[in-house]
Symmetry: C2
Subunit: 84 residues, 2 copies
DNA sequence: TAAATATTTAGACAAATATCTAAATATTAT
DNA sequence: ATAATATTTAGATATTTGTCTAAATATTTA
């Protein structure tokens, strides 16, 4: 749970998740959406991956990232519990 | 949204929210549940308050903290959107 | 095989954060 | 009024974090 909340505690990373909600994207395409260097985006993607919020698959020279909605359920569960 | 995720990005603060889920508590009673100094807990409570996740009310020399479930809904909404 | 393209790793640095102790403020009880 | 109790504020410090540039790795194309 720690890794998930840590991952969500950054606007750029939350924006990446919203991008991936619509479609999977390569690391480069993701980076192009921000005014941040590619290495920094790569680092953000790594944090999202460690939290299991995204998955990545190498396709040739590209790396395609996708949202992992399974883990999103875990956060939902945690927050819903607060309301019970 | 930033303040909310920032507030949730700490195990102690999440634990405080879970305590308050069951009942409202004074600052001192909350502090007693952790091996952390009272000033530090006071600081955590301040962050939770700025995020509107808790409310506080002074009762005599005590300050009673409660969970604010209205804001919890905002987080739910954000996360649910990720799944749509 | 050499050059080009895509991505990550490494190392550095400034800013943010969690924690502490000491002191200040507010309220209640003697 | 003074002492005791509850909480917050102030200031310091070590750690974590987001960012950058330069270099390394992997893949494709000429």
């Amino acid at each position: 749970m720690n890794a998930i909340f840590k991952a969500l505690n950054d606007e750029t990373r939350r924006d990446i998740l919203e991008l991936l909600r619509k479609q999977e994207m390569t690391a480069g395409d993701i980076a192009d959406q921000f005014h941040i260097s590619k290495p920094s985006i790569s680092h953000h993607l790594d944090i999202l991956k460690r939290a299991d919020l995204v998955t990545s698959e190498k396709k040739g020279q590209f790396v395609v990232y996708s949202l992992n909605t399974t883990i999103v359920d875990d956060i939902l569960q945690w927050i819903i519990t607060l309301k019970k």
